[in-house]
């Protein structure tokens, strides 16, 4: 939900509440005041009636005032009383029944007893209340309108620096356009926000560069001692006086040093891909690349007694870094070779949108969804680094390709698609 809408809804709700409460209170106060006035009016008219009765002591059974508002009736002896009540009277002017206040009381003058009814129409006060209600509603609508105009104006002017910053942030990509420049807005809060964002961005950029440098330097620093370990061990292995046992132990250390160095370079490669450090791209026909890699691997494939079945149709051209394209295909092919069955096969089907590399083999011992994670290894795959498919997947991600696993017709398939 947009901030503006959110504010509008909250504000409308609160305004509605305030207006309702204020309207009700106003109405209540007004009604009380009107009632009081009417009561006073009735009381004062009662005084006039009593004066009239004292002065004239009329003997007519019924006296009605010209406007029907006073009604005097002569009655037998009655106890003095006084009662206020509500009633409806027919209003001559408005031609309708109108609510009215009624005062009934008894009065005794010189042994004559009278019952008097004085009525007072409430029509005017009713009108007044209506006017108040409509006024409140109209005021509410006007306030809402003013609010929405204010908001529109605010978002166009006052919020402008905020939206500017937002669009700048949207276009920001780490490691690319390294400098983001926020304009001074003249609004303290936004300037503060921009200042903090600037600080954060600079920190993130610096961390990113540090990390990049760190992974490069770490690799360099690790490769050099590894090179020393390897070469020293290689020298020792030349020693003819070594016993069988010593030779084997040194060779085991030598092997581990080699593995470590391979792992190190694979991790470095992975972080370089993730950091988007391979920027140069070319249009590369992946199918042609597969053909040439297959030729290169032919010997290894023959030695493993694998059958290669290919079905190439169309072309699969991708704008990709050439080094990474080769690594991607190498990893897919060597994965198919490594996890193949005895005398198995590699089936490669390539079309315009999809390339699948399939091989028979033992059932997966790991979740297919975890296949592309780092250091996920098939139980039988001994000394592999467990990074090959992670690297392949990472390459695909950075060049808008997808890599997925499927099990089709008893074959493990890795499918590369656009």
């Amino acid at each position: 939900m947009k901030l503006q809408n959110k504010i509008n809804i909250r504000f409308s709700l609160i305004t509605l509440l305030v207006f309702s409460v204020a309207g009700l209170y106003f109405y209540y106060k007004l009604e009380r005041s009107i009632n009081h006035n009417i009561k006073e009016m009735l009381a004062s008219r009662k005084g006039y009636v009593m004066l009239y009765l004292r002065q004239h002591s009329p003997t007519d059974t019924v006296i009605v005032s010209p406007d029907n508002s006073i009604f005097i009736k002569t009655v037998p002896k009655i106890e003095p009383y006084q009662r206020f009540s509500d009633t409806l009277i027919f209003d001559e002017d408005e031609k309708e029944l109108a609510p009215a206040r009624k005062l009934t009381f008894s009065y005794a003058v010189n042994e004559n007893y009278y019952e008097v009814i004085i009525t007072q129409s409430l029509l005017e006060s009713d009108d007044l209340q209506k006017i108040i209600f409509y006024f409140m509603v109209a005021l509410f609508v006007v306030v809402l309108l003013a609010l929405s105009i204010l908001n529109r104006w605010l978002s166009a002017s006052a919020w402008k620096p905020f939206f500017n910053s937002l669009s700048l942030l949207k276009s920001f990509k780490i490691g690319e356009n390294s400098n983001i420049q926020f304009d001074k807005s003249g609004i303290d809060e936004f300037d503060q926000l921009n200042e903090i964002l600037n600080g954060l961005i600079q920190k993130v950029q610096a961390d990113f560069i540090n990390l990049k440098e760190f992974s490069e330097n770490a690799s360099h620093e690790i490769q050099t001692p590894l090179a020393i370990i390897k070469s020293k061990l290689e020298m020792v292995l030349q020693d003819k006086t070594l016993t069988d046992q010593q030779h084997r132990q040194i060779h085991a250390a030598f092997e581990s040093a080699i593995r470590l160095s391979k792992l190190n370079s694979a991790l470095l490669l992975l972080s370089k891909i993730e950091n988007r450090q391979f920027v140069e791209t070319e249009n590369i026909d992946i199918i042609e690349l597969i053909k040439s890699r297959l030729e290169y691997l032919q010997e290894l494939i023959e030695l493993r007694q694998l059958e290669v079945i290919t079905q190439f149709e169309g072309e699969f051209v991708v704008n990709i870094n050439p080094v990474l394209a080769e690594i991607l295909i190498n990893n897919l092919l060597s994965n198919a070779m490594k996890h193949n069955a005895e005398h198995g096969s590699i089936r490669i089907v390539a079309g315009n949108d999809e390339i699948s590399v399939c091989n028979p083999g033992l059932p997966l011992t790991i979740e297919p969804s975890k296949l592309f994670e780092r250091f996920v290894k098939h139980k039988t795959s001994g000394d592999s680094t467990g990074l090959g498919l992670a690297i392949a997947n990472e390459i695909c991600k950075s060049f808008h390709l997808t890599l997925r696993y499927e099990y089709r017709e008893n074959l493990h398939c890795l499918i590369l698609s656009r």
Partner: protein, 226 residues
């Protein structure tokens, strides 16, 4: 043959020098760019092995300088950075070869020998060993003037062994020599085994000598006098 080794890591430099001296080369060493540059000014070398990342500068500048002054010196770059740009710019500047650390010492040896052969004898130098005569440029092998047909890999393997005679060549070094980065799978050792078996058989049939010796299941040694 005089070789200059420029490498800032003392341990690695000394190992390389020790290995090459065993091979019969006369080695000089330098630990930084300044000393290396000084030495190349004073003396002439047949081959220079230079690390790119030196404490006082990039080894590539020395490659450029040396190529101007002594174009006949062979140059091999060794680098911890497996970056394509470095490789390309190094070779563009006139370096003859590029090795990524960590490398196998026999691999370095093999590359130096091949480089010296190409530089000193315009590639016509034969490698002779007992009854075996190898013409590296023509990729031909003769046993007593009779050609011995070998596959590409078997030929590479034979040259690798012949340039490193009497040394233990580990399966890892052999696999890496034959397949480069593809040597990472453990099956590649089976392939090494099967290639060596074939080469061994072919040589045994023609020469009557078994040149290969297994070393405790870790590698092979080529026995034969050059």
């Amino acid at each position: 043959m005089k070789i200059l080794v420029i490498e800032d890591e003392v341990n690695l430099r000394e190992t390389i020098v020790a290995f090459l001296e065993e091979e019969g080369y006369c080695c000089e060493q330098a630990g930084n760019l300044e000393l290396g540059s000084e030495k190349t000014n004073l003396y002439e070398y047949d081959c220079m092995i230079v690390d790119i990342g030196l404490p006082d500068g990039n080894g590539l500048s020395l490659v450029k300088e040396l190529k101007k002054r002594h174009p006949e010196t062979g140059i091999i770059i060794i680098s911890a950075k497996n970056s394509l740009e470095d490789k390309i710019s190094g070779l563009d500047l006139g370096a003859d070869d590029y090795l990524t650390k960590p490398f196998h010492l026999p691999e370095l040896n093999s590359r130096i020998k091949s480089l010296l052969r190409r530089r000193k004898f315009e590639g016509r130098k034969e490698i002779c060993l007992d009854k075996i005569r190898i013409l590296p440029e023509d990729r031909m092998v003769y046993v007593q003037s009779e050609p011995l047909p070998l596959t590409k890999k078997e030929f590479d393997l034979l040259v690798f062994f012949v340039t490193n005679p009497k040394r233990v060549l580990t399966k890892e070094a052999i696999a890496e020599h034959l397949w480069g980065d593809f040597a990472d799978s453990s099956d590649s050792f089976d392939f090494v085994y099967s290639h060596i078996k074939n080469l061994r058989r072919k040589l045994l049939e023609k020469t009557g000598t078994d040149y290969f010796q297994n070393v405790y299941g870790t590698g092979y040694t080529f026995i034969g006098e050059a």
